[in-house]
Amino acid sequence: MTMAQEGNGPMILAEDVEKWFGKFQALKGVTTSVRRGEVVVIVGPSGSGKSTFIRTINRLERHDKGRIVVDGIELTDDLRNIERVRSEIGMVFQSFNLFPHLTVGDNITLAPRNVRHWPKGKAQEKADQLLQRVGIPEQADKYPAQLSGGQQQRVAIARALAMEPKIMLFDEPTSALDPEMIKEVLEVMLELARSDMTLVVITHEIGFAKEVADRVLFFDEGTIVEEGPPAEFFSNPKHERSKRFLDQILV
């Protein structure tokens, strides 16, 4: 079992990962590894493959070549492996993707009850705890549409956390939010980053990256062009393309 690997070996290992959409090659050989507890921020222009890459980590996209190993489990076409990996990874999307027909509480408890087979009471307790943690207690009976964007995204974070994942993937979690709501979501993410959770975050929030990232990956045209600690990367990018990109986003 995976017990042997626990505590050592990388949490996520990607070797020469390639991905095509028809004739378009979105990933052109991505190799990197993420340590346990590491916080990795991915930046890059749109269409650079950064979103495709994190979606291959929990197999929302199937990679066409190379190897991806998550917590010692290699992602292959074997459904059992995919299920095991997915249950260890929580994911937060740009557009929240909450289930609109379920209450906030049911959004959070659905997966623990059906995938982890927790009894109702335990799942609800966990949900209440998590809602408290993301700063919106006592909203469990509301429907997602009754909450603000920032609140919805925090529910989405709580929903992902309810599965007690070892890894959290964030795909531009604040890009769809009104400016005044970005902070409340970033605060929750900061708190997570400071725990021993492994985080892979696609974001353009440079402040967040500088504050908590252990490492920044810069994606462009389907490959990692440059990587390094945030202080170094943001103040002193080495690659021509990184410089151009930073010039554009830092106005």
């Binding site: 929990n58 197999r59 929302l60 299920e83 997915r86 249950s87 990874i89 929580g90 994911m91 999307f93 557009s95 993707n97 909450l98 289930f99 609109p100 027909h101 659905l110 997966a111 059906n114 995938v115 429907y143 549409a145 009754q146 929903r159 992902a160 599965m163």
Partner: protein, 414 residues
């Protein structure tokens, strides 16, 4: 066109009030009857003309209709054939089976209504119900000669009212059991007619036959259509090809053709030795026909569910059946309620196409036969209009019910 500041113009500016933000919206001033008439019926020359012409036309039609119903018409054909209209050749001594079915449905319908939040008894609603009940009672007293039948009908109504009262009292607790009760009621109703030394399907007839065929077609085609819709989106080529082929073939063939094929030729496809009653063959064809349409309606609903819902479900580790059951289908099906019920209303009316096969004693066939009786020569209108009215009444009730369901499931959830 001359048009004083109309309501439409007002609505357009609603989003951006011109006055200070804190101001409360001005309360609508109730219009006097005179104002209302001027504004809604005679706002311009042409609208006035239209009002007058329409009113004259409506009055003429109404006068004609009333004249026909109360003066000209000879309802003897309906009175003599009422039983045939309702149940065809269903034997009199087995009628208790039909009545029991009616009672089961009446009770369940009452309970279901009672569980829903009560609607306030506005004056309008009281008047509407008084009218409906008044007309119904008058018509029944005029048409039905057997006092036993009247008592049985009254009992059904009483049962429905009692069910509503019980439902209101028990409330939400009943909701889930009621769903199961309805699902169980479907086979029960059919088995009670046929089983335990009951009546062969060959002898089912009249409106009863139309209702049973429609109910069977609706209940059986819904799950099949659902599977076909999922099959159409399957990644397995065999499943997908079969689903697409089935749906497109059936949708392209007229229902009457299917029915005639089903009754006269379908036997060739069955294993030798297996003989099914004609009406069962017809039911199979209705199910086949309806499944294809249900599948397309469900497919439309599935397309309305955003990709993000699938991704979120997968990311959480939900497996396909659970994802479909808990996330995708509830959202997809809710969007299909209006078109689904409209399809079921059509299907119910399409049961009149049994006439086309020529072997059945459904409502329309029986109404047609009634006019061929020498005693009722020339009474086609009197024979056929009631049949049309019965179809209309049920279809309209379904449409009203659909509106209520739509309103209820849409509340605060999106």
């Amino acid at each position: 066109m001359k048009r004083p500041a109309s309501e439409e113009g007002y609505e357009l500016t609603l989003g951006e009030p011109e006055g200070p933000a804190a101001q409360v919206a001005p309360e609508a001033v109730p219009a006097t009857p005179g104002e209302w008439v001027r504004k809604n019926l005679f706002s311009s020359f042409w609208s006035g003309m239209l009002t007058v012409v329409t009113a004259l036309l409506a009055a003429w039609i109404l006068a004609k209709a009333i004249g026909f119903v109360f003066v000209d018409a000879d309802w003897s054909v309906l009175k003599a054939n009422l039983r045939v209209y309702m149940v065809g050749r269903f034997p009199l001594e087995e009628m208790w089976r039909v009545w029991t079915d009616v009672y089961v449905i009446a009770l369940l319908a009452g309970l279901s209504r009672g569980v829903q939040p009560a609607m306030p008894w506005t004056l309008r609603r009281v008047v509407r119900w008084a009218l409906i009940l008044g007309v119904a009672v008058a018509v029944l007293l005029y048409l039905v000669e057997s006092s036993r039948v009247l008592i049985m009908l009254a009992a059904a109504v009483a049962l429905m009212v009692a069910g509503a009262a019980i439902g209101r009292r028990l409330g939400r607790v009943l909701r889930k059991p009621l769903i199961f009760a309805w699902i169980l009621a479907f086979p029960f109703v059919v088995i009670l007619l046929r089983g335990f030394g009951g009546v062969k399907p060959e002898n089912w007839g009249g409106f009863l036959l139309n209702v049973i065929v429609a109910v069977v077609a609706i209940f059986v085609s819904f799950p099949i259509g659902l599977l076909l819709a999922l099959g159409r989106r399957s990644t397995l080529p065999v499943v997908r090809t079969f689903s697409v082929g089935f749906i497109e073939f059936i949708r392209g063939v007229p229902l009457v053709t299917l029915l005639i094929f089903g009754v006269f030729a379908f036997e060739l496809l069955l294993p030798p030795g297996l003989r099914l009653p004609n009406i069962v063959l017809a039911m199979i064809m209705f199910v086949v026909f309806s499944s294809a349409y249900v599948a397309e309606i469900v497919r439309g609903g599935l397309q309305g569910v955003p990709e993000g819902q699938y991704e979120a479900s997968r990311a959480l580790g939900l497996r396909y059946p659970r994802m479909m059951r808990s996330i995708v289908l509830p959202q997809a099906l809710r969007n299909t309620i209006p078109s689904m019920i409209s399809h079921f209303i059509s299907l119910f009316k399409d049961t009149s196409l049994l006439v086309g096969v020529g072997l059945f004693s459904d409502l329309l066939s029986n109404a047609g036969r009634a006019t061929r009786d020498l005693a009722f020569v020339g009474l086609e209108a009197e024979a056929l209009l009631p049949a049309a009215f019965m179809f209309w009444a049920v279809a309209y009730a379904m449409a009203r019910w659909s509106q209520r369901v739509e309103k209820r499931v849409g509340v605060g959830e999106r």
